[in-house]
Amino acid sequence: MASLKDMRVRIASTKATQKITKAMQMVAASKLRRAQTAAEAARPYADKMGAVIGNIASAAAGSPGAPALLAGTGKDQVHLLLVCTGERGLCGAFNSAIVRLAREHALSLLGQGKEVKFFCVGRKGYEQLRRLFERQIVEHIDLRAVRQLGFVNAEDIAKKVLARFDAGEFDVCTLFYSQFKSVIAQIPTAQQVIPLVVETPAGNGGAATAYEYEPEEDEILTRLLPRNLAVQVFRALLENNASFYGAQMSAMDNATRNAGEMIRKQTLVYNRTRQAMITKELIEIISGAEAV
């Protein structure tokens, strides 16, 4: 049986761990607030962009000259999965949830005889996917050095994806990220970005406003579509970032609570053992005195 000193050491070490998890929780909470504001600040742009593209695209989609980013390449043989995950662990099932969704998607595509390629953003997803799809990972971007996510980061990623698309390396691109609902709910999401799935503008009865275009419609569209990809990636990164801190916060909250529970149990055992020793010593003294 462990001696009293060993027990004291154990309790102290659990307490130290609890302090760390508690600190991490608070750091995550404050970072979450910032990430959440950033994600919310980016929303109007992404929404407006979606609305404008929806308006133009619904008019242009039928025409034969529609750009490939909108109309697709006419095939869906090769799929590129753009998987965005976090850079760090200690955040519950956050990274695994995204990876699981991507993996299931990939396996079902493979089952249909399609070809799958991976583009990993974030270290954790890369490490997990590498075990299964080592050879399918075509590119991997690490954002660990980035302190504040900027639009340039998203633009970089979008540029790389577009270069591969222009080179005809894939037909369909799907973006995987975790949507931020609340601190306790992050929903892993798959979103097809190439070819673009146009949401019909809701609310105005289908008849879109007749716009004048300056310059021509298709020229605007060719400018807008690559940009839209960057915007979508940016939004995914921001949502991911907020989700990450949310997940980390609740994971650390759990850990702190578990540590508290553990400390309580260990202290109970420690006190009981100590009491037992005192009682034993008393009995020894008393029985010794009685024997005299």
Binding site: A38, A41, A42, P44, Y45, A46, K48, M49, V52, N55, I56, G150, F151, A154, T209, A210, Y211, E212, Y213, E214, P215, E219, I220, R223, L224, R227, V231, F234
Partner: protein, 135 residues
């Protein structure tokens, strides 16, 4: 004077939102002003200075390309970058221009034309920036 709603959004933030009298936009095919009741239009925006007039006061913003949309008596400008003219870091701006000039050497064909055009836009912004700095 009739007003209309104007939103200036960049990917990173909502740079301006409110009721305005007039907005002058640097369009790709020439500057144009938007007043209340403007016809629905979608226009590409070139890098330049955007002027907002609200209640007799002018506010100048530097936008680096984007898209303007007018519909239902509201104007939305989706700008790649939108900074108010007071907040622009002039030193950094000239640095960007120097960098672009440097990169120009590696470009060719239509890409070169495109870059030169963009550089011209940037230079004209810088010119205006320096002009306002002297006042």
């Amino acid at each position: 004077m009739a007003t209309f709603h104007f939103d200036l959004v960049s990917p990173e933030k909502l740079a301006f939102s409110g009721e305005v009298d007039q907005v002058d936009i640097p369009g790709l095919e020439g500057d144009f002003g938007v007043l209340a009741g403007h016809a629905p239009v979608v226009a590409a925006v070139r890098p330049g200075i955007l002027t907002i007039t609200a209640g007799g006061a002018h506010q100048k913003m530097v936008v680096l390309g984007g898209l303007a949309e007018v519909s239902d008596n509201r104007l939305t400008v989706l700008a790649d970058v939108a900074t108010s003219i007071q907040e622009v870091d002039r030193a950094q701006f000239s640095e960007t221009i120097a960098e672009m000039e440097e990169n120009l050497k590696e470009k060719e064909g239509s890409e070169l034309d495109h870059e030169i055009e963009r550089l011209d836009h940037f230079k004209s912004i810088e010119h205006i920036l320096n002009a306002t700095a002297m006042h």
